[in-house]
């Protein structure tokens, strides 16, 4: 994955997101869920980078 402007998901951000769903997991569940959430965060970085590269290549092609 290439670098992007958005920093990786933090536990504080994840806890805040859980709060909006009224979810207050015990620590083992929260830690396991955060590991998956971090993977998803990486997926989003990959998707954003791919779209940026595609947009750039379209621009290049148009000259």
């Amino acid at each position: 994955m290439t670098a992007t402007a958005k920093p990786p998901l933090t536990t504080a951000e994840f806890d805040l997101a859980l709060h909006t769903f009224g979810s207050t997991p015990a620590k083992p569940d929260r830690d396991a869920a955060f590991a998956i959430a971090s993977f998803l965060d990486g997926c989003c970085v990959l998707l954003r980078d791919a779209e940026k590269q595609r947009a750039a290549s379209v621009t290049d092609a148009k000259g």
Binding site: F21, S23, P28, A33, D41, C43, L46, L47, R54
Partner: protein, 459 residues
């Protein structure tokens, strides 16, 4: 006339080994009854289910009553087609009115379905005989887990290895001879990966080809309903009923068929060398059967899986948003963890994933301009050991299934051979609506090899 537990033609064949076509022929010529066939499967359930745990609610009364109706219909001259009198199992995620359907979740213990899913109703209308409900992973999300509604089903080839899922009981029931056919669902590979791990055939049809009403949703834009059986022809006959389409002739050989080989999708961390070698052998076999083979380059697998992962987690959170307050109550821990993991995804993230998924679908459609089908491995390893999941956490296993839930292309897994004594699958992917094409190639591969006639070493 032999109506006991074997069928005599040129050789003595146990009734539970008959294909749908052969069982149907025997019933129609009067040498077998639907009731005798059903009893043979019920006996097999009694014998094998204690060890395999595929059936969570066998229903002998309902099955024998349906079999008696099928026999009575035949006697009255009413023949509703290939599935009349043929037993089948239903994944515990699909409603059957009056049956206990829990979605594999403890919270739903004792839930009695008040309706019958359209897909099941089509099977019943065709005269098929429901044997009962078979296991799923907890909410069809993740497993095997030890805190679902029941202990996980076991892989008939080696009970120390997982079945794959979430159609775990569907695959285990068919592979162990307890049902000739089972219905399953597939949101990220849940029909195809257990079919591959258990050495049977699994079809995920084109998105929307089979109605999903009466099926507990997981991620509705990715959910599919499919079938698992021991042979391609059996799966094809079930698909024709499920989709309300006429059975097609797919026994024409492979002359003129152009197959794209997505070999670069094998290259992944954790991929088994044995699976890669079997895939090369499988492609060579297809070539010998007359197909033209060309290497094709598919979109970046990491990008496809990223789009799928974001969509599936966003949609499963939406499905279960009302169930995750507090610490998740009685929900299984792995399922709960997977559901809440999507909490930090934004609407922008999900929109981007959908946009990329749509673009990648277009790229794969363009690959189909140059070939009729694409082949690859279903999973990149055989079934992992159950002990890998002992920590109670989800373990990532490399597969090549999720991309086709994102794109909606039909995909078939057929037995491809064995690695370390465990079966693996060849995945055949076609254009939207081209189930007949992938079934044709699957049938040709099956006929050219002996993988589909192998049976697990169980008593």
């Amino acid at each position: 006339m032999p109506k006991a537990d074997t069928f005599h033609s040129n050789a003595i064949v146990p009734l539970t080994e008959l294909s749908i076509t052969d069982a149907g022929a025997a019933i129609r010529d009067g040498s077998l009854t639907a009731k005798a066939l059903t009893r043979a499967y019920l006996d097999m359930i009694d014998r094998r289910n204690p060890a395999i745990r595929a059936f969570v609610q066998p229903d002998a009364d309902r099955a024998l009553a349906a079999a008696a109706r099928a026999d009575a219909d035949f006697a009255a001259g009413s023949d509703r087609g290939a599935l009349q009198g043929i037993p089948f199992a239903v994944k515990d995620l699909i409603d059957v009115a009056g049956a206990t359907v829990t979605f594999g979740a403890k919270d739903n213990a004792g839930r009695i379905a008040g309706r019958t899913a359209t897909a099941v109703q089509r099977m019943l209308d065709a005269g098929a005989v429901p044997l009962g409900m078979v296991a799923t992973y907890d909410l069809a999300i993740v497993g095997p887990s030890i805190d679902g509604a029941y202990p996980p089903a076991r892989n008939p080839w080696n009970i120390d290895h997982i079945t794959g899922g979430s159609s775990s009981g569907s695959a285990a029931a068919v592979a162990s001879g307890m049902a000739p056919v089972a219905l399953g669902t597939d949101t990220g590979g849940s029909v195809r990966s257990p079919a591959a791990y258990c050495g049977i055939v699994g079809l995920k049809p084109t998105f929307d080809a089979v109605p999903m009403d009466g099926v507990q949703p997981l991620a509705p834009s990715l959910d599919h309903l499919g079938a698992l059986a021991r042979t391609v022809q059996d799966v094809a006959q079930v698909f024709a009923v499920l989709s309300g389409t006429a059975p097609r002739d797919f026994t024409r050989g492979l002359a003129g068929v152009r197959i794209g080989y997505a070999r670069d999708w094998n290259e992944a961390e954790g991929a088994s060398r044995g699976v890669c070698d079997l895939l090369d052998d499988a492609v060579a076999t297809l070539s010998l059967e007359g197909a033209g083979i060309a290497l094709v380059t598919l979109p970046d697998i990491a990008l496809m899986e990223a789009a799928g992962a974001v969509i599936i987690h966003a949609e499963m959170l939406e499905t279960y948003a009302g169930n995750i307050a507090g610490a998740g109550g009685g929900m299984g821990r792995m399922a709960y963890q997977s559901i809440i993991a999507g909490a930090a995804l934004t609407g922008e993230d999900v929109a981007l994933a959908r946009s990329v998924g749509a673009r990648l679908k277009g790229e794969i459609d363009r690959v189909f301009d140059r070939c009729d089908l694409i082949v690859m491995a279903t999973t990149l390893t055989p079934a992992p050991p159950v002990s890998d999941f002992a920590e109670g956490r989800a373990v990532w296993t490399p597969m090549r299934t999720l991309p086709f839930n994102v794109t909606g292309h039909p995909a078939l897994s057929v037995p491809m051979g064995f690695v370390d004594g465990l079966p693996v699958g060849l995945q055949i992917v076609g254009r939207h609506g081209a189930e007949a094409d992938i079934l044709r190639v699957g049938a040709a591969f099956e006929a050219a090899t002996d993988h589909a006639v192998q049976r697990p070493p169980i008593a």
